[in-house]
């Protein structure tokens, strides 16, 4: 792993370390868009072989001359940069205020791909879909590009002056009218700075607002060690996906569920109760759909059965499920985990804590998260808004977030906000809040500036930049410094001085460098500050809990659920094309959110997908399209948050409806009294998968652990398979000596998070085609994750199946190509040669797996110069009229091969990792050499669970699957 030479030169002369190389030369920080710098950059791009458009010409190159291209060398070439060779830097990003360890690939100082940092305990080399998409935000031309006040473009120094001017008068009364609002912060340096500011302004206050806050768990936040858990019971918790520690949780759970061969096969048993299907619930062995309001009573019943003295509500459903849970929990005391989601009330979390305690899990499988000390003088968000209403706030500085869009509707934030005298908003995007602030200061993307952050498990990482700010960018560190100091130092200096202390230790430099290259700070702690409050988590920012109404069993009364969207979260990713086009789990909706309702409700009310209904809740009304979601609790209606953004870039405009309009402080996650009635309108909802039933075809093989133990080869039985190597042709014609690439996808551990899809999109320059094109089934994802339902529609068993190209040895697609644009190489890869393709689309027709994607239009035509920078220079950008598909990341194969050739050795097992495998949190995808019997790949392929998709076609796929197993509870199956 490369790491930069750490000699912090001051900007503007040179980029800070890590971003030592720059995509283009810049004299000053005041970069005016459209200034004469782009041409250089464009020609660089040519030289980086990134002009997708020329591919169209390329077809013609046999009858036209190529246009002249230029080479632009460096003026000063940085030592660490070898043109044409990527560099990798360790850094970290934020997820709900918690750090995520990352490893970022950069070409000539141009970050193109984000991976997980294997040395970071919270990620172990995997990433979330959001980390994958962050790099697209970096180059988003819709980002805020200049400091503005009232629409007028200003310089950063203008802002410093204005800030100082505003602060001076506040100094007298200790900043009584000075308020700071931020998102959850875990950066030690930033917290220290914040503390310093609050010390110097004793009367000033600080509030936190996060629409997806975890306040309900405040104080009860725990880390679970799923590797030790035999039984897992989840109450409305999405701990495998929408959780700050999800990546690690997923890895640990997977390691308890991975089954290769029968002997010693053990799986944990996983029970889930949730109102609306989540990634987590879909992976449970026994999932029940219960209204959110019924989760607490359910837990109470179980607790009572376990012997905890709580009042048990009467007439509770799912008796057999409860019985099974109780039995299994009792049977595996100290080896189980009970976990509840942040969407459930504190009572439940308290109860869950009791259950874990009395089951002896505390200290075994469950531990409290390390305390994070926060500055004092913090007030709840609700109180801040109330102050603003009273016009008691003169200066409000908002770091990140978008409260004007996502604050609870009952707070009436908009007009409270307007009563603040001076409003400053600091964010990466110019959003609804920025629009109504006096000053908007563009924040630097985390790939552009220095900071530090702290993960869920307390491990701290340094955030180091990989590129000079694309546009004017100021970091939060600099602003906080500007509040006290007249002219702020650079973020780099602030950070370094905080870590080194006043007089650096002699070995500081070495430690610092190691911390940078490892991406995790292990060798020293930052000097902690005199933090007053020792609160473990932010003070509850929403209104107190007493207000939240108790939910008795309210029978058929509709319940409203607010949930973060699986793609755009709280709305911060609304302008990210990759995420907007990423199929939402289960529904496979793209470019929209829809109110999810249960099939029963749909039947009862005669509703269909796409019907627009009017939702009435707490006298507020909202129109939203419907989607019927199997597995949804009967009377629960889920509203995904994060849509209906107004002040947003071109991508996120007019996408979906804004569920915050109904969300009140006493119903952050769910509440009763929802009424819906059908309107005449319909909305065009666009999905990538219409059929979720395998119709008994040899596509998906699944079963139970018991079946497997009874008959290990059952997974290979269902079809009449041709005898292995059964062929009309002479097998010796293509011996596939040397390397013989293959892949295994372990359906048993795959959780269906879709990270592979988006990682592939990032790695392979896959275009975003937009709603209309997805609507006519032209999405371009090379690896899709099919979701299949079995069992009842009310509560189906859900299985996810990632489907990349199978790289069949007897490929049907190749036979029919008239120009040999798709052919085999003698390592068995099924190649697609874009520049030879004439676009008959015959191959796609003849592909039984339908994994081929066609450029029906010029999907790369509308890219802005900055968007082109995200493209991977090692992968051809495809133009109109050519077919494309999964290549097993051939660019990575070739890179590894050339490295091996130069070192005069063979490619090692595990040296080549395709993007999909690299990102996978559960290591479900394995790639390797089938001629190496000792490879991890072959160990898996030898498993009796190994099977070919549609094997009876005898296409001899190189990609095979390990059948899905469920560790079902025999009693429950019988009672089904």
């Amino acid at each position: 792993m490369n790491h930069p030479a750490s000699n912090g030169r001051a900007r503007p002369q040179g980029a800070p370390d890590g971003s030592a190389s720059r995509p283009y030369q810049r004299e000053t920080d005041e970069f005016v868009p459209g200034s004469n710098e782009w041409p250089d950059d464009l020609s660089r791009r040519e030289f980086l072989r990134l002009a997708g458009a020329t591919l169209a010409l390329a077809g013609l190159n046999s009858c036209t001359k190529q246009p002249l291209e230029t080479i632009v060398p460096y003026v000063k070439q940085p030592e660490i940069v070898i043109p044409g060779k990527p560099l990798r830097f360790a850094t970290a990003s934020q997820f709900g205020g918690f750090g995520q360890g990352l490893l970022v690939t950069a070409y000539e100082g141009r970050p193109t791909k984000i991976e997980g940092n294997p040395t970071h305990p919270a990620s172990l080399g995997a990433t979330t879909v959001w980390s994958q998409a962050d790099v697209l935000d970096l180059y988003d031309p819709d980002r805020a590009q200049t400091v503005t006040t009232g629409g007028a473009i200003k310089t950063v120094s203008d802002f410093w002056d204005a800030l100082n001017l505003a602060i001076e008068p506040l100094k007298q009364n200790g900043g009584a009218a000075f308020r700071i609002l931020s998102e959850p912060i875990s950066s030690p340096t930033l917290l220290a700075q914040l503390d310093r500011v609050l010390q110097s302004f004793p009367a000033a206050r600080w509030a936190i607002w996060d629409p997806l806050n975890r306040d309900t768990i405040a104080g009860a936040e725990v880390i679970c060690d799923f590797t030790k858990a035999k039984v897992v019971v989840a109450f409305d918790s999405d701990f495998l996906y929408a959780h700050p520690y999800a990546l690690r949780n997923a890895r640990d759970v997977a390691n308890r569920r991975r089954v290769i061969e029968p002997h010693g096969a053990g799986m944990n048993r996983f029970y889930a109760a949730e109102p609306t299907p989540t990634i987590t619930g879909s992976n449970a062995d026994h999932r029940i759909a219960v209204a959110a309001r019924d989760v607490l009573p359910l837990a109470q019943t179980i607790a009572a059965e376990l012997g905890i003295g709580v009042a048990t509500p009467r007439n509770i459903e799912n008796a057999d499920w409860i019985a099974a849970v109780v039995r299994d929990l009792n049977a595996s005391r100290g080896e189980s985990v009970v976990i509840a989601g942040e969407t459930q009330p504190p009572e439940l979390h308290a109860l869950v804590a009791q259950m874990n305690a009395m089951l002896g899990n505390m200290g075994n499988t469950v531990a409290a998260t390390p305390a994070l000390s926060l500055p004092g003088s913090q007030i709840a968000f609700g109180d801040l808004v109330e102050e603003m209403q009273r016009s008691a706030v003169e200066l409000l500085v908002i770091f990140g977030g978008n409260p004007r869009y996502d604050a609870p509707a009952d707070f009436n934030f908009a007009d409270a906000f307007n009563k603040v005298k001076l409003r400053v908003h600091h964010s990466v995007y110019f959003n609804e809040t920025s629009r109504h602030s006096h000053w908007h200061v563009p924040a630097t993307h985390f790939l552009e500036s220095w900071s530090d952050t702290r993960a869920f498990d307390g491990s701290v990482s340094i955030v180091q930049p990989l590129i000079e700010p694309m546009y004017v960018g100021v970091s939060a560190h600099e602003i906080l410094e500007a509040v006290t100091e007249r002219s702020p130092r650079s973020a780099y200096e602030i950070l370094r001085s905080h870590w080194s202390g006043p007089e650096p230790a002699p070995d500081f430099e070495a430690k610092w460098r190691r911390a940078l290259s490892d991406g995790v700070v292990t060798e020293f702690q930052p000097p902690s500050f005199a933090g007053a409050g020792q609160s473990i988590a932010p003070a509850p920012s929403a209104t107190p809990l007493e207000k939240r109404q108790r939910s008795e069993a309210r029978g058929s009364q509709l319940e409203i659920l607010f949930r973060p969207d699986v793609s755009v979260r709280d709305g911060r990713y609304a302008n990210n094309g990759w995420l907007q086009e990423l199929p939402r789990r289960f529904s496979s909706l793209t470019w929209d959110n829809a109110a999810l309702i249960s099939p029963e409700l749909a039947k009862a009310a005669g509703l269909n997908n796409g019907d627009v209904v009017e939702l009435t809740f707490r006298d507020r009304k909202l129109r939203a399209p419907l989607w019927i979601q199997p597995g949804q609790a009967k009377h629960s209606v889920t509203l995904p948050l994060g849509y209906g953004r107004e002040i947003v870039g071109g991508v996120g405009r007019n996408v979906g409806f804004n569920a915050y309009a109904l969300r009140t402080s006493d119903s952050l996650w769910f509440a009763d009294d929802l009424t819906i009635h059908k309107t005449a309108d319909r909305h065009w909802l666009v999905t990538t998968q219409h059929h979720h039933d395998v119709t008994g075809r040899g596509i998906l093989h699944d079963g139970t652990l018991d079946e497997f133990l009874a008959d290990p080869h059952y997974a290979q039985k269902p079809e009449e398979l041709p005898p292995l190597g059964y062929t009309l042709y002479d097998p010796s014609e293509y011996p596939y000596k040397g390397y013989k690439w293959g892949m295994v996808v372990d359906l048993n551990v795959c959780i269906g998070c879709h990270a592979c899809t988006i990682a592939c999109q990032a790695e392979n320059n896959i275009p975003v085609v937009g709603k209309q094109q997805v609507g006519v089934h032209r999405e371009m994802h090379w690896i899709r994750v099919s979701t299949f339902y079995s069992g009842t529609e009310e509560n189906p068993r859900i299985t996810h199946q990632p489907v990349p190209c199978m790289h069949c040895e007897n490929a049907p697609c190749e036979l029919v190509c008239p120009v040999a644009a798709t052919a085999h190489d003698n390592e068995g890869l099924n190649l697609q040669i874009y520049n030879r393709c004439v676009g008959t689309r015959y191959c796609s027709n003849n592909c039984p797996y339908k994994v081929r994607r066609f450029n029906f239009l010029e999907y790369n035509g509308r890219l802005s110069p900055s968007e082109k920078l995200v493209k991977n220079p090692d992968v051809t950008v495809r133009s109109r009229g050519v077919m494309e598909k999964c290549t097993y990341c051939i660019q990575r194969i070739n890179a590894a091969r050339i490295t091996a050739e130069l070192d005069q050795r063979k490619i090692r097992d595990g040296e080549i990792v395709p993007a999909c495998a690299q990102v996978c949190p559960v290591e479900a995808i394995t790639f390797g050499n089938m001629n190496d019997p000792r490879s991890r790949l072959m160990r898996l392929k030898r498993s009796p669970l190994n099977y070919w998709m549609l094997g009876e076609l005898n296409t001899q796929p190189r990609t095979s699957y390990l059948a899905k197993l469920r560790n079902v509870n025999a009693e429950l199956v019988r009672s089904d």
Binding site: T727, Y729, D730, E733, Y734, C808, E809, N810, A811, P812, C813, E814, L815, C817, A820, A823, H824, D825, N826, Q956
Partner: protein, 175 residues
């Protein structure tokens, strides 16, 4: 008109023409030709005309077929062999359709251009076109022309001989 191309006798029906042709052939005339508005069966035979077009067409077909197969084999098996879905490099069954099409194509071209060539067409100018009435050869009249370069041709005697065949008229065709 110093030099003549031949003598042209005009008949009303094709029977008459065939009869005249047989007479003329019997009389030993060889360099002669009949003209009719449609393909009169037996006329050419009566005039003793031969035809070796079919052989040419056969040869054309064979060349096309073998050439076609060779091209496919050379291109896919020799010039740049590529592994196409694990199918044999020399997949002869897949090469048959084009082989067949190409033999038909070449045979057809031979038949067409062969017939034109043997007929000496295109020949926009021809002595016979001097005779105005000859227009009717393409409509409703039947002609027999004994050419001057025939060994037994004699302006007077041949005219007398033709007259004996009961033509509607006899014309001298200038060169």
């Amino acid at each position: 008109m110093n030099k003549t191309y031949g003598l042209l006798a005009e008949f009303s029906t094709h029977e008459k023409l065939i009869h005249a042709a047989e007479e003329a052939y019997a009389a030993g005339f060889r360099k002669m030709d009949g003209y009719a508005p449609f393909a009169v069966e037996g006329l050419a035979e009566a005039l003793g005309k031969k035809n070796r077009l079919p052989l040419l067409v056969l040869i054309g077909g064979i060349i096309g077929g073998t050439g076609g197969y060779f091209m496919e084999w050379y291109a896919n098996a020799i010039s740049y062999p590529i592994n196409i879905g694990g199918r044999p490099i020399h997949s002869w069954p897949a090469f048959i359709p084009i082989t067949f099409e190409l033999s038909v194509l070449c045979a057809g071209l031979t038949a067409f251009f062969g017939s034109l060539a043997l007929n000496g067409l295109p020949r926009p100018y021809h002595p016979l076109f001097h005779i105005p009435e000859f227009d009717r050869a393409s409509q409703d009249r039947f002609f027999l022309c004994i050419e001057a370069n025939d060994a037994k041709f004699h302006p007077k005697e041949t005219r007398a001989f033709l007259a004996g065949l009961g033509p509607l008229s006899i014309k001298e065709v200038p060169e």
